[in-house]
């Protein structure tokens, strides 16, 4: 049953993205920034999906600490790992965008900088998990760390935004203003597609995590015999 759900969702993602690619190419050019502006269709949804992922990881971690059920720990890992990939997409596309518009590979604007810090927080989570071998301890400590880290995400975002407004820097683009309605719809569709992709990858990773736990259990049984 799970397999079928995954396949259906993948198909949905493929359809949505193909349709969107067509729609994006047909849209008129954005006046000031030109073609590169279309990168927003990946840049923003990837960030939105990753941030939602961090919220899910926070909830999953709290639930694990409360219920001690390992499926919550598996969910936290899966969501964070996929979030790492999606944030990487956000950072790389943002960097390319900055290079085309301003000629610099990195612009210290609030959103990109927050995304970078979030990426480092996620990476810290994965490194901590690798350093701990005993499964219960690993799950518990990872959950504690993720509570600290993901509570930090909104704080990081606001503090860097204050930092950047007090020391003004070039702003990437203003979402308000000239965002025509057909652009918004294309963006919304791509958002849905990215979120679906995120969910699919998370489910695959989740299943792998559960299989890994079964393997560990089997291994212990075999060695016990």
């Amino acid at each position: 049953m799970r397999q079928k759900v995954i396949i259906v969702m993948l198909a949905l993602v493929a359809i949505l993205l193909a349709r969107n690619l067509y729609a994006i190419s047909m849209l008129p050019d954005e006046m000031r920034q030109g073609q590169i502006f279309r990168i927003i269709y990946f840049h923003v949804p990837a960030a939105a999906a990753a941030m939602t992922g961090s919220a899910v990881a926070l909830v999953a971690s709290v639930l694990f600490l409360v219920t001690k059920k390992f499926q919550y720990d598996a969910l936290a890992v899966a969501v964070t790992e996929v979030g790492l990939a999606f944030l990487a997409v956000n950072l790389v596309t943002g960097s390319i965008w900055a290079h085309v518009i301003w000629g610099v590979w990195w612009a210290w604007d609030p959103r990109l900088t927050s995304a970078l810090i979030c990426w480092i927080l996620y990476a810290g989570y994965m490194i901590l998990r690798q350093a701990l071998e005993e499964p219960t301890q690993r799950a518990t400590f990872a959950a504690v760390y993720s509570i600290f880290a993901f509570t930090d995400v909104p704080i990081v975002y606001f503090s860097i935004r204050w930092w950047r407004t007090i020391h003004p820097q070039p702003v990437f683009f203003s979402k308000e203003g000239y965002f025509p309605p057909d652009w918004s719809r294309a963006l919304a569709i791509n958002m849905v597609a990215m979120f679906l992709l995120y969910a699919v990858l998370t489910m695959i990773r989740l299943r792998q995590e559960q299989t890994q736990r079964e393997i560990d259990y089997l291994r212990r049984t075999v060695h016990a015999i």
Partner: protein, 77 residues
């Protein structure tokens, strides 16, 4: 005679315009290239991660098979 003096002026003006056009074409090309690279990067990263997942899946499955056969063997004994 007037045409003679005018022509270099016209030629000069056209030349200036051609430069601006060339710049604009360069900018558009760079812009478009940037877009393509951006899309490529996004898809490459997602594909790389999906590949990582598939490799891990295969490794896990192999491990599972191995362990299952070990359990069966020891049960037969």
């Amino acid at each position: 005679m007037h045409l003679y003096t005018l022509t270099p002026v016209v030629a000069f003006l056209l030349q200036a315009d051609a430069d601006a056009i060339r710049d604009e074409i360069g900018r558009l090309q760079r812009n478009f290239q940037g877009l393509i690279w951006g899309f490529v990067a996004a898809w490459v990263i997602l594909a790389a991660y999906t590949l990582m997942l598939t490799f891990r899946e295969r490794k896990i499955r192999r491990e599972m098979e191995r362990l299952k056969s070990m359990v069966e063997e020891s049960e037969k004994k």
